[in-house]
Amino acid sequence: MYPILRKEVLADKIILMDVKAPRVSHSCLPGQFIIAKIDEDGERIPLTICDYDREKETVTIVVQTIGASTERMALLEEGDSFEDFVGPLGQPSELCMEENLEETKKLNIVFIAGGLGTAPVYPQVKWLHEHGVDATVIMGSRTKDLLFYIDEMKAVAKEVYVTTDDGTYGFHGMGTNQLQALVDEGKHYDRCVAIGPMIMMKFVCKLTKELEIPTIVSMNPIMVDGTGMCGACRLIVDNQVKFACVDGPEFDGHLVDFDLAMARMAQYKTEEGRKKLELEEGDTHHGGCGHCGGDK
């Protein structure tokens, strides 16, 4: 059993939890994820590690309620437990590895977080800050009410730019527009990390290809085991089959086949559900790019 020690509502339908998970907390690094299962009959739900405390032996997750399982998860309270909580899974972010630190220090890095993507971006920016690298962060959301972690992010980043699609807070526009604006001002970046809805990552990659900024994305396809056993999470990267759970979740965004990855997300949707997915992609998932529908 893995007890929930703290629960906090960050924004509409976005919930943070600190979960006691000693083994995961001792070995995890930014960029990795866990799989949580609520109870005997529950689904195995992959969630990014958003922070960790090796002393308190906790792992922080941020969950957006979008379907049956995440809604059930949101009903858990402090003191309740997950029956299963396994990890860390996947490869740590390359930028957040001690052995790459000398190289990383030479880079001017810009993070683009779309919607919930702020949660997984935060531990990376924090890790870099603690290791003497200060990064730029663009965090975008559809509207003001969905924003979270602005102060936390400001405390660890060199600069934070907040965008909203509807202009209710910060820059009126999308993450891609903000990046373009910064580059137009003469800012130079050697590395971009984009985390958010697939469609947002796709459009960030389209832009950064033009701008010639190498870009890392974090892919979150449908998963089952998370250990390379089922192949549900397979993607095409650089024309090769990769399993996101063991080879990723981070990949070179300029090599990912996003259209295929997005199509595969619809596997377990009924026709009706797929329509809902299109709607929801426009709704919950769409912080920071605003290209929704433009792709369909």
């Binding site: 083994r23 995961v24 001792h26 070995s27 299962k37 009959d41 529950g42 689904e43 195995r44 049956a68 399982s69 059930r72 029956e83 299963d84 909580f85 396994v86 990890g87 860390p88 899974l89 089952v224 085991d225 250990t227 390379g228 056993m229 089922c230 192949g231 549900a232 397979r234 095409i236 089959v241 063991v246 295929l260 199509a263 595969r264 619809a266 596997q267 377990y268």
Partner: protein
């Protein structure tokens, strides 16, 4: 009945069982078992024993069944096997003990597997459990993986007095026995969970949700958590795909994914984990895994075709599974091979393009390899394709363990007689060493390694 024909076994009717997940074979009653045991000739040179990978004293246990000493029969089997209720159900007996039985020369071989299953079920139903009175010796051993290899190794080590902990990556114990082999062949609560309980009763601790190589490495287990020896029984779980066009489409699954959703996550009970209930399903492959996937799809309501590139003779699955699959209505399209998966504009599978094959001359290994017949392609409609082309060991452990060799196929290199790997105090066995094989071989390797580990401690 003359001695040439075996006592028939009751099974669920094919039409009925094709719509449920209850066990197909109902097993012998006491009377039937005794009667079948009477057919054994109690040979002086029992050929059956030579065919058993773990050399169970087959005539001896069968004589005890004949004399209704079922508990004694169980003890005899338990000397060589840790999982008789499982092996009695899933061993390919026709290639092993029963394939060698002299009775088989003129008539039916003795139903050794069914008798083994009867004895193990009888013992479980009568509360007979393995126990150990060996004094604890205080040495800590870690066992990685809770499949047949890990369970057998852990059980034997506990019986010798070792302090054993099993680390399992998934949330449930049993390896392929829980995630791969379906309920209708191997009941999970009744049989598998009972075997796991037996191992726990011997004092073995089990920690689920620990992925060795990720949550903690073997080197850390030994340096930081005080484990003096390690057994790796992590199986061969990595699925293969064909590499043909359309394989990434919606509706194409690995057999592992399909079976895991259904068996481990119990999707057939309509719990939280979804499964795609196809209308027409094509399963590619001819092994046990393919049969299981096909019969699962059938039970979920689909018309099912098995497409296999060789012929009936060459099907690697157990004979009983092929027979059951046919009875239930699975259609076999043999000597055929997919070349492309057809899709619509939403990337959903709409069909499969298949080429016909013929068998060529036997190659160096004596196996006749299938050759495509040019121009014989045809298209079959379907909405789901399940790839069942074999699996290989997962590199998670080997890539994070310093000084342990693997071969070119990613299998861990281990000595056959002891299970010792090239890393000191680290042993391995089962599918992780051999590549995908059988339950009995994995179990046997686990037992061999337990002996090897015991020797290691005696010499240190």
């Amino acid at each position: 009945m003359d001695g040439f024909v075996r006592v028939p076994i009751s099974e669920q009717e094919p039409k009925v069982r094709a719509t449920n997940f209850e066990e197909v074979c109902l097993g012998y009653t006491e009377e039937e078992a005794v009667k079948e045991a009477e057919r054994c000739l109690n040979c002086k040179n029992p050929r059956c024993v030579g065919g058993c990978p773990v050399s169970i004293n087959i005539p001896a246990f069968i004589q005890e069944v004949k004399n209704r000493n079922f508990e004694k029969a169980y003890e005899i089997i338990s000397e060589s096997s840790a999982l008789p209720a499982v092996c009695g159900r899933v061993c390919p007996q026709e290639n092993q003990c029963e394939g060698q039985c002299v009775r088989g020369i003129k008539g039916d071989a003795v139903a050794i597997g069914k008798l083994e299953r009867f004895v193990a079920d009888w013992a479980r139903e009568h509360g007979i459990k393995p126990h150990s009175d060996a004094p604890k010796n205080g040495h800590k051993v870690a066992v990685i993986g809770s499949g047949p290899a890990g369970l057998a190794c852990a059980g034997d080590l506990a019986r010798l007095g070792y302090d054993v902990t099993i680390f399992e990556a998934l949330h449930k114990t049993g390896g392929v026995l829980v995630y791969g082999i379906p309920e209708f062949r191997l009941p999970k609560d009744k049989v598998v969970a009972a075997e796991v309980e037996n191992v726990k009763n011997l004092g073995v601790k089990i920690e689920t949700n620990v992925i060795i190589g990720k949550s903690i490495t073997i080197d850390e287990l030994m340096e930081e958590e005080g484990f003096e020896a390690v057994f790796i029984g992590s199986g061969a779980g990595l699925p293969r795909f064909m590499g043909i066009p359309g394989e990434q489409a919606l509706g194409v699954f690995s057999a592992n994914e399909y079976l895991t959703r259904n068996n481990l996550m119990k999707a057939f009970k309509d719990l939280d984990t979804p499964i795609s209930r196809g209308k027409k399903v094509v399963v590619v492959g001819g092994g046990n895994v393919a049969m299981d996937a096909a019969r699962t799809a059938l039970r979920l309501g689909a018309e099912v075709h098995i497409v296999y590139r060789r012929g009936e003779e060459e099907l690697p699955a157990r004979a009983e599974e092929v027979h059951h699959a046919k009875e239930e209505g699975v259609i076999f399209d043999l000597l055929q091979n997919p070349v492309e998966i057809l899709t619509d504009d939403k990337n959903q599978v709409t069909g499969i393009r298949i080429i016909k094959m013929e068998l060529g001359e036997p190659d160096a290994s004596g196996r006749r390899s299938p050759i495509e017949i040019p121009g014989s392609e045809y298209d079959m409609d379907c909405d789901t394709v399940i790839m069942s082309l074999g699996t290989s060991p997962n590199p998670l452990i080997s890539s994070t363990t310093v000084g342990m060799e693997v071969n070119r196929r990613g299998c861990i290199v281990a000595q056959e007689e002891t299970g010792a790997t090239t890393k000191n105090a680290v042993y391995a066995g089962g599918d992780a060493v051999t590549g995908a094989a059988t339950v009995i071989l994995a179990m046997g390797a686990g037992k061999t390694a337990a002996k090897g580990i015991d020797e290691y401690f005696k010499n240190h």
